[in-house]
Symmetry: D2
């Protein structure tokens, strides 16, 4: 064994979840060497496997880089060490060499025990307080926080691919394509929503204004009214268009009922914003019965929390919009706490934002008419997402109809 | 008036159909000069307008080029001249300076009378036989044919934009966007199909295999069975996938009914091709009851003509496929004769081909999930098309359902 | 003349800028009637035209709606009236029936004189202070502000299409397509940038992180260094990626120089954010020589103002990022004051935001690899934009090279 | 061991090429059981691995389906059997249960020896003649041909992922994205072309008309002239546009040199077609010096074979176009014989066609501005392709320039 070698071990569904493949890949990508010291492949499909490898680098730095990388794939050092901590010198500033998180389930070896990191998200640091470890974003780092540095004492468990039970994720595999039987996918998604809810799961919708333009507002409203949705994350545009549609019957100046052009269509958009400012807030519009249907209305009526994050392109924005994006991120995270399923509809901005806040174990469904949008979201780290390339205005009504059938 | 000037006149809905705008544009694009000698704008919206202009070029060649261009926009020379003819010297060869057609309604001044050119298509030549004039593609030019050269004696009438009655074209305007209320567009398209048929119109579908993959096969089959469709233009892929779905229940190896993976999915594709070859043809498969449902089946059963054009990427192709594309073009044209409405679904290749064969007066609806595909078709000359950016597997079932309601 | 009629007049390049066509269209869309009382078409191409129309509605409300609409297209009432004003009752609240602006040059009839509205943007209200009128967004409305209501006393001048001189806008027309000779478009864009600057014009870049990923960072840096750029509007991502590339040589974990994979690529992203927080700001990083090249560096060094607007998906975001989007909008507007040309590169979010703040007379060039993105921006109201569908990483270096040639 | 069990074995880079993962996947997808009897993982990265599994199905049919599937992934039955043959009963008709090929390297056990199947393509059958085996498409099957049926005696070797040496495939991984450093990818592609040629490799271009529209014609012409290209596969459109550009200087009616609009642009397209018909063929145009530059010219001059496949949307098509697609497929295959690298540029139709004819071991590079197009090609079975999402008009000149540098 070379001076610059180290033994690591890894266990789990090494073969069928491709874990071993990825570890071999990473070592070779970084031009390291490896030796398989021991391997024990489960003989049956549900059996766990175990492997022990010696990894060798050209020098200590090289070896360290390889180790860092394979640790992210689930490998652990044969000899466990305690995590190392360093204090933050200044608000918002992490120590050099801070441990940057993945969105996988992560444990840290603290005072001789493995403890799970809470509130797992990707690209954050880990702060240790007493016997607990938390995943914390830069803007929440306070001077003096104890932050994990280096890679010692950290164990990652990549999610295993779903194998049991039939759900839309298993059915579709990981690819996104527009060439799938739409009606059947809609059924599968309906099943998944229905079953998740039946088991007491939490479902959050992330949505863009195309929900309204394409005529899917009623379907989403119904899902909320029927109790399937536990939170709505959006921006100013969804709210404005939803309220314009609910109060004036138009979206982008088109009468949605009979599909004729409204007099002065775009004006309605500005009138809507003014109406909410006059009322003071969306909830007050509902209270004063100026707003009596739609997505925002159902949220207020059914106590479903919604968060509207501001963006630079907003008209207005509405008084309910959180114009400070750092604060909006905090509110998004609150709503996403312990979520089981997230449905992202036609909004790249809010979908990527939400994806960044989710542990990899949360089910994510993305519906968009543009394949590159769907692909981009997955490339940004939310690789567990199921992409559905379809027309929201046709797809969501199908899903809503299917759920209705199941609810009877 | 300069030596290099000529007077032209133009009439029709000059303002609201933008004809005058386009003529002014073209003259300026080519850096010519113009003088408006007389203009008479209809005072009411249905009135026709009239304008007389003097156009001036830098030299005779320049003037001629400008004139050629404005003639295409509907202008005519003040002084009408007879068309000029020249014989084809060789099969497939047109005389230099042959008149290259647009897809607009075209008349030629022959023996002192204006006669309409039959079988109008774009980018072809005009052959005169006796007192008739025909639009003829290169491959049908025979040695000795009398072909129109130059621009004299030709009058074009651009189609006026639809103003009366409500149909989907009026509703949507000319733009294609995915941000429209899908369910309402589906209703409008259903109305248009229903009304066109009620008036005895002829409707042809041009379709690609995504009809089957996305699960819209049943909807199209139903439209054919119910008598709404008078012809199907496609390629090998639609037929193979349709027959695979009808006989084996799969498309691209997925069981469409319960959405599970077929054993050995892709194999089914090749088995289907072999099955048709064994039967000898699609019609024989129907006759021997080996094929009992689907698009191809309904075509055979209901005597709806279909033409399958071969392409270089075909597997097989099926015995029914016309592998010679020049012959396939001739068969397409036969089916398109006197058509009133063409619905193009998820196939750029066959849609552009069909677009090239249609006079601009035919209503064209294009449904595709990709906006660039829809845009490209229009850029290729089929500018009158109405583009719908949606998911075929969700949109066509909506249309079929709406038509069913109307038929009751 | 009916009880519900009114005479309007309009002048300018009525035909070649399609103004008359649009007015006729709008009247017919709204099912009104019109009579052309007088029309005087300029006989030469540079001549202005004049038209006087009587418009008739079914009732006063109908007529008013039609009038509102045609006023937006440049028509004015034959009889001019003073504007009407009403006070804002509350901060952020406009009076009902407030006049909602277009992005066209707008004049208001105030105390018997036409005065131009300053700081023109679309979808805002107009506040009158003394003898001046200002275009003001909702969030800047203060209680007691005098706001224009109704449509009386307002005159709009739609921009005329460019006719003189050769620039890329004239060359390309209004369409966006990927099927254009890329190298020649790059030359035209270079000409336009060079000439705009030579005449003392102001040029602002709006950019997304794809500038860095695709390897165009050096080209943009050079444009700034050479003095062509007067402002950079972006978000957190462009800055982070630019600084990561400048300090660590990677973008998305790929070594840009030799195109190999960095050890621990994504980590670099977080390290970059931490480094800026440690320095305190981008300018301080430049001052302490920790940042010595790239887009942000050149901005600081050359005193080119940059504004980084926060968004919900930001990692960090950097201390320089304005996390309050309402404030970020104000800063964007400052940089955009009196701008002549805006170049938008691979960012829909910031491009739409910027487009909303620009009068229609500003030249806008949009470069993106996705055609739907380009189309969407124009649909959102920035119709004057020139869309170029190309690969930023290949296109911008071409433009930079061409400008360099001209600068010698 | 159950009645419905069978032992299989597999060897090669089982882990790093994911072969074992895929086999486990397939068994589980089909709901079979497996037991790992023996596994020997190479301890070093270049070592081969070996595994022996018992697979169990619910019944013989189930087991057979699972076996069929895993055989495709490289597994072989522990006990080798001779292939089974059956005669074709009729031209174009294969026996039921014919073995349908993959595009992987395939061997058959014939008279006690493993022999390689020649001319490997996907979705075809295998015909045995004497001691040789050939991959044969449906249309080439003759009555009496000995065709392999069932799955016995067939061994597939999936290509291993490239590990050694630096080339663009290794660099990019398998994903296609527009967010890559374009200039570096261009360098890598140039390296690959240059090195392939240096080693005496054969390179074929498959191209669409966007090569000409986007201004990349000169770059492709230069590659041919410099001897890098051994064949050009295209359709009518590329040839017509190339010759229009070469003879009239326009493409789609735009003067490519100075980017102004040609008088009567689209007319040039038809004139070009007529000119080739007058000459009789492209080669005769070159001979008579009517065609003196461009892609087609360089092919003729340098004896580089080109095949133009007809399609239903062709204008003309040119006399050189093979209008029978079955014959065109044969000619394509001839040019593709023993090819090492195929560069597909902006044509989905011809690229998918070519992909279907290639063994998986051929390097394929696809360049297109549309990501869905690139993805679709890979989904259709040409999974080994490297997708580059870029603007052809900017990318190809970069590649050509880089190759020029290397050639000096």
């Amino acid at each position: 064994m070379s001076k610059f070698s180290q033994e690591i071990e890894v266990s789990g569904h090494l073969i069928d979840s491709s874990i071993l493949t990825k570890i071999f890949d990473k070592i070779m990508d970084l031009k390291g060497e490896f030796n398989v010291e021991e391997i024990d492949i489960g003989t049956k499909k549900k059996d766990h496997s175990y492997a022990r490898l010696t990894i060798t680098g050209n020098n200590q730095g090289h070896l360290d880089e390889i180790l860092k990388t394979v640790y992210r794939e689930g490998a652990v050092s044969k000899v466990q060490k305690e995590i190392q901590l360093k204090k933050s010198s200044k608000d918002f500033v992490m120590p050099d060499n801070f441990y940057s998180t993945t969105n996988n389930h992560t444990q840290v070896f603290l005072k001789g025990k493995w403890i799970s990191v809470e509130n797992m998200m990707m690209d954050k640091c880990i702060v240790v307080k007493g016997n607990k470890a938390f995943c914390v974003p830069v803007r929440d780092v306070k001077k003096g926080d104890q932050i994990i540095v280096g890679e010692a004492g950290i164990k990652i468990t990549p999610p295993e691919r779903p194998r049991e039970g039939v759900n839309v994720f298993e059915f579709m595999g990981s690819s996104s394509s527009s060439e799938r039987p739409t009606q059947h996918i809609a059924k599968q998604v309906a099943d998944d929503i229905y079953n998740t809810k039946k088991k007491g799961g939490k479902i959050v919708i992330v949505g863009g204004p195309a929900i309204v333009h394409t005529g899917a507002d009623d379907s989403v409203s119904e899902l909320i009214r029927s109790g399937y949705i536990d939170g709505v994350l959006a921006g100013n545009a969804l709210a404005v268009h939803d309220i314009e549609y609910a109060t004036l019957g138009t979206s982008l100046g088109m009468n949605v009922k009979d599909a004729t052009l409204a007099y002065h269509g775009h004006r309605n958009h500005m009138d809507t914003i003014n109406a909410v400012f006059k009322a003071g807030s969306i909830a007050k519009m509902v209270k004063s019965k100026k707003l009596t249907k739609g997505i925002m209305y159902e949220c207020v009526k059914n106590n479903v929390p919604f968060v509207l994050a501001g963006s630079i392109r907003d008209d207005g924005p509405l008084p309910d919009v959180i114009t400070d994006v750092a604060e909006a991120q905090r509110q998004y995270k609150k709503v996403l706490k312990d979520v089981d399923m997230v449905i992202m509809i036609s909004t790249m901005l809010h979908s990527i934002a939400t994806g960044n806040m989710l542990p990899a174990s949360v089910k994510v469904i993305v519906v968009d008419i543009s394949q590159p949008t769907v692909t981009k979201l997955m490339d940004r780290g939310t690789w567990q997402a199921l992409g559905i390339v379809s027309d929201v205005g046709a797809f969501l009504p199908m899903v809503a109809q299917q759920i209705k059938k199941r609810s009877k």
